[in-house]
């Protein structure tokens, strides 16, 4: 493994809200063309960590480095300007806007006609549709469709395509697959792979181990605000990761618990090794 300078690096980040310590001594790195999976149970501090990465919160201690030099994010715009793009659970946030319009919110393409500036809808639609088709979503061919009419997976994919189009270098995905069905989730995972292939650094937040293993190169497990494990692809099995996330409580323990509660079950599908 050659040691390139990571695109994004966190060093000993601490975060608290008043008296509540939410994160302690978080150190992470992610490189170009690499997917870092951030795993953790609900309440582990994943969302808080992302909000630090995208400039919503400022950590009380620790440093954020980009390309090896320290940076400071005072507001989300600062992070966005440095190429950090965040895609939230529900992807497109403007359900009643068209694909073309929402793609260019804040950076509208314009054309001049006399003294008037016009929003160039045709160009906006063409670019948006092309960007998403380049990611393999060929079903979308009309930029006038409303975001709210797309499927969950399509919305996620559009949001990722948008980030890439506008030159994002780091893509942060907060539980992009949590609300999706199996097929839709597979869709989004393919898009994540494509983003990685194009050289983006991806931080992928999830509590679904299978989804993480499908795209991850590097994994970090967060438990109660601390990093409990940090390992690379192939170092651990799915059961080991699941156990780690549960914080010591093993899947076997859970199975015994189920068995006691539900009575003995014949042919309960056992989780086979991936």
């Amino acid at each position: 493994m050659k040691d390139k300078t990571p695109v994004l690096e966190l060093q000993d980040i601490d975060m608290s809200f008043g008296p509540i310590d939410v994160l302690h001594e978080i150190s992470l790195k992610v490189q170009e063309g690499e997917v870092l999976c951030l795993l953790g149970d609900n309440g582990a501090g994943k969302s808080t960590l992302i909000k630090i990465l995208c400039g919503v919160y400022k950590p009380i201690r620790g440093a954020i480095l980009m390309d090896g030099s320290q940076v400071e994010f005072n507001r989300p715009r600062d992070a966005a300007d440095r190429g950090i793009a965040t895609v939230h659970q529900f992807g497109g946030t403007f359900p009643l806007m068209s694909i073309g319009r929402s793609f260019f919110v804040g950076v509208e393409p314009t054309k001049k006609w006399g003294p008037f500036t016009f929003f160039d809808r045709k160009k906006a639609n063409e670019i948006a549709v092309k960007a998403i088709q380049d990611f393999g979503i060929t079903r979308i061919d009309d930029g006038n469709r409303l975001i709210g009419g797309l499927s969950g997976g399509e919305r996620q994919s559009l949001a990722i395509a948008r980030a890439v189009h506008f030159g994002a270098r780091v893509l942060i995905l907060d539980e992009p697959t949590a609300a999706l069905g199996v097929k839709q989730a597979a869709h989004v995972l393919r898009i994540v792979n494509e983003a990685k292939r194009r050289g983006l650094a991806v931080v992928f937040i999830t509590h679904q181990v299978l989804h993480a293993m499908a795209v991850g190169d590097h994994f970090a497990v967060l438990i109660r605000g601390g990093i409990a494990a940090d390992f690379r692809k192939g170092d651990k099995t799915r059961e080991e990761i699941t156990d780690l996330m549960a914080g010591g409580e093993t899947t076997e323990d859970l199975e015994i618990e189920f068995a006691i509660r539900d009575g003995p079950v014949e042919g309960r599908p056992h989780s086979a090794a991936p």
Binding site: R77, P95, F119
Partner: protein, 333 residues
Amino acid sequence: MGILSLDSLIRRPEAGAFLGMAFVFAFFSIFGGATFTSFAGAASWFNVAANLGIIAIPIGFLMIAGELDISIGAMVPAASMSMGIISGFYDLPIMVGVALTLGFGGIVGWINGMIVVRTAVPSLIVTLGTLFAVAGLTLFMSIVLTDTTAVSLAAPAWAKAVFGKFYFGSYQVIIAWWLGLTAIYIYFLHFSPWGNWLYAIGGDRESARNAGIPTNKFTILLFVLSSMSAAFVGLCQTILFNSAQVSTGMSFIFNTIISVVIGGVLLTGGFGSVIGIFFGTLTFAMVNQGIYYTDFDRNLSSLIVGVMLLIAVLMNNTFREMALRYSGPKQAN
């Protein structure tokens, strides 16, 4: 851009508004007799529509942005009085009266906007406060300055021609203002890049801000616009009728909101069109005035408006569903 198919027309936010207007027009054409549609008869509903419409479109913008401004109910009569006091009672030039009155409207709008973006108080409550504050201030100032609650104003001919005069017998000049402003607003919302900002703010304010849109400034400007529009309507009325009295303009609050909703703007924000609001305003004015041409009891106009409003809200939801479901032009091969 493809041909305008029936399907693509029906998906537009103004589709319902247009159908409603066509229905109301047909209804009063039949029951109102020939006078409703006659040139002189139509003036009555065009006048009502123009006075309402100039305020309704900015209110529609606020509603698309997810805000509301009910202080316009006090702003219209306050501007009327202010115009009368400055250019009538004190006999200052008309343009001074116009400038100061619009300026006053702008300040009230700015205060509304500042409070809304700086605090988490809903704009309904903030503007309810300024509604009462402006109403009280108007009465107080009128008594203190003029010792009466009514003032007269004799505007020069040019000012009457521009701001308040009847043309072709009974058409108020404000109709021309309404049509001109509507054209500008259509450009602003549907063709300029700033229209995109308005939809984005109404759709998700947080994301819009993160995308670099100055959401606070924009919101404050919308409040300034609605307040100044109300002030403009008030001062035009004073110049038209050569007088102003302390009165209430509370009907403007409901009538603008009704016009906007009938016009297809969603109460949840993020969706709507200027043409829809334009149709909604005309529809409201037709019902409001058309009843006088029929044999029906005039109280029935409120009943009709109420029913129309309910139908509009239900239809708006349906049209929204249809717009969301639209998945591109169907290939016919």
